[in-house]
Amino acid sequence: MLEILRSLRRNARLIRSFVVRDLKARYVGSTMGFFWSVVFPIINLFVFMFVFRFLLKARWDDAMGPKETGLIMLAGILVWASFAETLSRGTNCLVENSNLIQKVVFPSEILPVQLAISSIVNMLIGMPIVVIGTWIVMGNPFGWQMLALPLIIALQIVFTLGLGYFLATLNVLWRDTFHLVGVFTTVWMFATPIFYPASLIENFTIAKGDTKEEGYWAFGWMLDVNPMHWVIDSWRRVLLYGEWPEALALGRLAVVGVILFAIGATFFMRQKRTFPDLL
């Protein structure tokens, strides 16, 4: 793990040019350029708003109108999209860049980092919409809470990278990983309170049988094992409610993130020497 951190520091310049190259590549040749970073989540938002709010008549909170709900969803969508993109592209990054890994001496450990940073930047381009929207709709002032954002972003990156390193390595050894990740990400997205409030899942139960005596299946634990819920919840608290993020959530995120990163990075570096032969 330390080895990977040293290498990342040494290759900081290279990572920078790869991030720039990736951000440019997203929009080179498209007329609307960076505008897509904003348009795409908003269109997503409208689709989900339409389905959940108007078709299924789901209410976020009695006190909240469509505008507030929209902003809350949008924050979740932006964070999730960035995470899901890193996960999916990260899993495939070694296979996709096999020409670099096989033909030149290349520090492949920078690839997941590059993707994570690039998608975070992409997310940050969309975030101001949420901030400005909150200011206009709810009149919430910008507070000192914004200072927590760098920490949230850093923890989000560490957690995502841990998974990314692990999955990228696994995908080299076993190509089905990529497809599994695609399926799993969708399941994970709907298990995370993005389009519905967390309270809904906290109070959600399914009866085990026909009578009350048989008890209920409870689902509240799902929030306790879902780091992405902690991430998204932290973002929302800071941007929308003007609150500080929950210390417990960030603490858990830090522990889980560092452990995952250690596992992923170790696995990656152990297998790294075999990459050129396996791609």
């Binding site: 040019s17 440019k24 670099l100 096989q102 033909k103 030149v104 001496v105 076993w174 020497r273």
Partner: protein, 429 residues
């Protein structure tokens, strides 16, 4: 590798270097091996126990047939793949002309790709800026340098790749035979660049299966076979061993025509006589498919007659692989012709066409055979077969270029300006 300071810059030293690949029947077995005990793979040693010592400024050629492990060795030296056992010490910056322009991003301009390639090599911003202009100048891409690489022709792509690899002050240059750099003008520039590099004390390792090319460039040659170094030394000595091995491995020079079934090349004729076998015999009468220039080569045509024929004539045509008609002859049109005479049904026999000193230079060639009836005013085909068999010629000496060796000598006469005696020099053939 640049950190490896205790090792002399520009030299390459391999010690007991081996590389094995694990071949799995199913990809999932690789995963099982990772978590479960046991081995589910077959080992394949691409490079085995190689000791190599290339001093700074050396130019070493590595030859061997396809699959001998040459390219794997280059990859090990360049650091792209890691050795399974043993190690390789490389002093200084290595760039390879193995795959020119690999790693260019198609959406980015040539200039941006230069920057990326340089930062992969570990340069800082100042160094990149300093190198960019010479690279652009050498590549002759002109205004194209600011267009996306995807718009480049393959020649332009390769030119940029070559420029990047050679303009970044490498200490060691790895060159693969597949080096084709486009038009003749640029090729000349490249060769000049490689010579300059060599003269300036750069170390070159050159991989090929073409003896002539290696001989022209290298003072020392290493022969690889099945992953091992089997011979090293002067080009002449190694070339000899190489030819022996190629010949031992290639299939024999017999082409059985009856078993061949339908030919993919044209065959026609009335069919009274058919060739059953065409044999290529090298020095010593051994069937072979690979010959060396000036070797004593015999083409043996084995025939069988099915019907009486008045006066058949056998002939052979030699073509270079690109279709150039090199030579054709038969036993009738000679100063002292052989009149075959009548052939009865059921007769078999052999007709030899002997080339006492094969004049062909290195390359791929093929033969066509002709059996014609010359008893009529215009000869008619009995058994005409195009492209019957192929063979290869290797030229260990590589003294002459082109298609054929010509028996020739060179003579020089010089008249010194100070009125001294005339100087005459004559070459051997």
């Amino acid at each position: 590798m640049a950190e490896n300071d205790e090792h002399a810059v520009g030299s390459v030293r391999a010690k007991a270097l081996s590389k094995s690949y694990r071949l799995y029947a199913k990809p999932i077995h690789r995963l099982y091996d990772l978590v479960l005990p046991g081995k589910r793979f077959r080992e394949f040693w691409a490079v085995r126990d190689v000791y190599l010592d290339v001093p700074k400024g050396g130019t070493v050629g590595i030859i061997g047939q396809n699959g001998a492990g040459k390219s794997t060795l280059l990859k090990l030296i360049s650091g792209i793949t890691m050795p399974t056992t043993g190690d390789v010490e490389v002093g200084g910056r290595v760039t390879s002309l193995i795959e020119l322009g690999a790693g260019f991003h198609p959406e980015f301009s040539g200039r941006e790709n230069i920057g990326l390639a340089c930062s992969i090599l570990g340069m800082d911003q100042a160094e990149i800026e300093e190198k960019t202009q010479p690279i652009i100048d050498f590549s002759e891409l002109g205004e194209f340098i600011d267009r996306p690489v995807k718009t480049y022709s393959s020649g332009m792509h390769v030119r940029l790749g070559f420029s990047v690899a050679t303009c970044v002050d490498p200490d060691i240059l790895l060159i693969d035979e597949a080096l084709s750099v486009g038009d003749e003008h640029f090729k000349g520039k490249c060769l000049n660049r490689l010579n300059e590099f060599s003269e300036a004390g750069g170390t070159t390792i050159f991989v090929s299966h073409d003896l002539g090319a290696v001989r022209a460039m290298c003072q020392s040659v290493v022969l690889m076979d099945a992953g091992k170094i089997v011979e090293q030394g002067t080009p002449e000595r190694v070339a000899d061993e190489y030819l022996k091995r190629v010949r031992a491995q290639s299939d024999s020079g017999a082409m059985n025509l009856r078993e061949r079934g339908t030919s993919e090349y044209p065959v026609w004729g009335s069919g009274e006589i058919e060739l059953e076998q065409v044999l290529l015999l090298g020095e010593g009468g051994e069937p072979a498919r690979v010959f060396r220039t000036h070797e004593d080569v015999t083409v043996r045509l084995c025939y069988r007659a099915f019907t009486d024929t008045a006066n058949p004539v056998f002939g052979v045509g030699i073509y270079r692989s690109d279709g150039t008609y090199v030579n054709g002859s038969n036993h009738l049109w000679r100063d002292r012709p052989i009149e075959f005479g009548p052939v009865g049904s059921g007769e078999t026999g052999e007709v030899d066409y002997r080339l006492g000193r094969l004049p062909l230079l290195a390359g791929q060639y093929y033969l066509s055979t002709f059996v014609y009836d010359h008893s009529k005013p215009a000869p008619t085909a009995i058994d005409h077969r195009e492209h019957v068999t192929t063979f290869e010629v290797m030229d260990a000496k590589a003294q002459q270029h082109g298609l054929l060796t010509l028996p020739s000598t060179w003579h020089v006469r010089r008249q010194p300006g100070d009125g001294g005696d005339e100087i005459r020099k004559d070459s051997e053939s």
